[in-house]
Symmetry: C2
Subunit: 404 residues, 2 copies
Amino acid sequence: MEAVDFFLRLALILVSARIAAEIFARMGLPAVIGEVAAGVIIGPGALGLIGADSIFVLLGNIGVILLLFQVGMETDVGKLVAVGTQSALVAVTGVLLPFAAAYLASEHIFGMTRGGAMFVGGTLVATSIGITLRVLRDLKADRGHVARVVLGAAIIDDVIGVIVLAFLIQYSRHKGSVELLPALKLLGFMAVFLGAAPVIGPAIERLLSRVYGMSRTQGMVSTIIVSLILLLAAASNGLGAPDIMGGFAAGLMLSGNPAFGIKKSGAEKAAFSIAADAEKKITPIGELFIPIFFVMVGASVDLRAIDFRSPGFWEFAVVITAIAMAAKLMAGIWVKGRIRDKIAAGFAMAPRGEVGLIFAKTGLGFRIFDQTTYASVIFVVAMTTLLAPLLLRPLMEEKGPIPE
Amino acid sequence: MEAVDFFLRLALILVSARIAAEIFARMGLPAVIGEVAAGVIIGPGALGLIGADSIFVLLGNIGVILLLFQVGMETDVGKLVAVGTQSALVAVTGVLLPFAAAYLASEHIFGMTRGGAMFVGGTLVATSIGITLRVLRDLKADRGHVARVVLGAAIIDDVIGVIVLAFLIQYSRHKGSVELLPALKLLGFMAVFLGAAPVIGPAIERLLSRVYGMSRTQGMVSTIIVSLILLLAAASNGLGAPDIMGGFAAGLMLSGNPAFGIKKSGAEKAAFSIAADAEKKITPIGELFIPIFFVMVGASVDLRAIDFRSPGFWEFAVVITAIAMAAKLMAGIWVKGRIRDKIAAGFAMAPRGEVGLIFAKTGLGFRIFDQTTYASVIFVVAMTTLLAPLLLRPLMEEKGPIPE
């Protein structure tokens, strides 16, 4: 790509995201949905001003990792562990129910092959944590009890989603022979990865504090923190887990929150002030990259691939969307609190995003999906992403989650 | 490129640049040269960990534009105009002398073709403003009299360099028929572009101030300012001028310095505080992108393409390097002040970078350069870039430029 093309497209992404976010915010809709809508409009499905698989996907990946870093920095591990059981129950229910229901509906109502039906089910497994969290943050509800349970559950079902995808790819390649060991290994890695982050955090903070003190050049904070985030994302990927897990782990390390009740020494408190400075420096970088991610989520929805006049398309899309919403709603039953909180948690889990789209693309790649099924599945992902925040907003706004 | 590859390479660029910059700073060498050296080492010429023409070139281009934006923000147009005559004289001398001397030496001593000799001359025309300014900034000498003259001259010779390149490309294609009109048109555009920036600056600041006030979403400052910079860079490119000119113009607009002595109203002062906030938010973004540019400058030097045992290579490289240094040194004569300041200005103008490398690559592309000449020319560019800061440093440090 020529430099000038790159500049123009990047500016187009940033400006259109900004304008759409403002319009949506003024209409009382979540700003993030505006950014996704901007991506749909300028993406290859409509105006075709940007491509769906390009340098901007990579830049958007940095954005979503930085988003998870910020989330990690604000996560209090002690409180996350406190809601761990609820999160795990929500996650497992939110994986099993939509997978089973969508699989059964696809095979028995819509007559799909077993492989195709399983891929449809897989699409509905993972919550799009980025969209959910941005919505909660827009509503200033990202620190409450519901948000913590949902965050934990979304992390868990993202991991399960990746494992399910690995299984389905094996299934598609070998027709039935699936290895259990790699999946269990991955699960073990993840537990170590996330468990270790808050424990080694203080040591990392002390190290960074010493490096900053020795530095004779400018710009140390931005580059070293961003590098740490990128390396942990790559490490996470190397272990077979989603990249975003690395960003989250980096945030946990630098969160400055006491890990498992361990009190901080004076040196650790000094290091924490450096971590706070890091957060301040990373914020503008995140503000630049994060909208790129959501625009690219929108840009990967190809409106042209959908035949809106086909009744089969609508039946499939409506049924699967209903399953997608209802199944996650029922998963919210495990959240402790009022009915309102259970419903809010269910809707918060509803958006499917990146992982769902990866399922859809993989299904297309293996020729398990035809173009119509592919388009329908993408439509379902988009609908969950659009419906969830609309349903969530009145619940969270009218009366917030249980105060801490 | 896979996301994980991208993360690892970006982290490699940032970390290696940071380590090399620290080592150079401790050895008393300019940090920026450390970053370039890091690029040589990890680039395709040595370890081959990153490619020379990749996504990172584009990200580096953002970096150099942000660098020029920061320079523009700190530029006082009134003072720049005050040194305009000196800058113009330095620039024109610094273009004519090295071009003529290198052309004559290449054609008559080294027996090159007329076209090849002119391309060698063209390589020496443009000062690498990015490297010069970073060196001056590292020495905290980027606001003095010498720095202002050099900045003005470097901007002017960059423009002349681009015009010369356009001429040489026409010459190579049409064997002698060169159109004067487009070149003059470009010159006119540039004058309008840079002249208008500080005049319309206050209006832009007022507009931004109003937009910020209306905003209901987060991250407005980072995205809008970066977009403005990108759009002006693209506009500059569209007019046939270098991209970096747009970043500089954006900086001039938001510099908050009175343009041509026009006093500010109260509203403009309020707007300026927003511009100051913008600078604070752009700084971490610049700290992330700017090192990428310098690493990529290093990565484009291919050590393997140089046959270090050929005597012809060394004769050519040494003679042309000497011409490159001496000619810019003589251009410094126009700087008002002590001999020390004239010499400092000359050395500050000596580094050739991006534009020089574009000449070299274009020469190779038109098969006007063979591989040896190409390697020699790149070596000369690298030598000017390495020598200039080394020579400049003692001059600037022992005793600073004339105080304002």
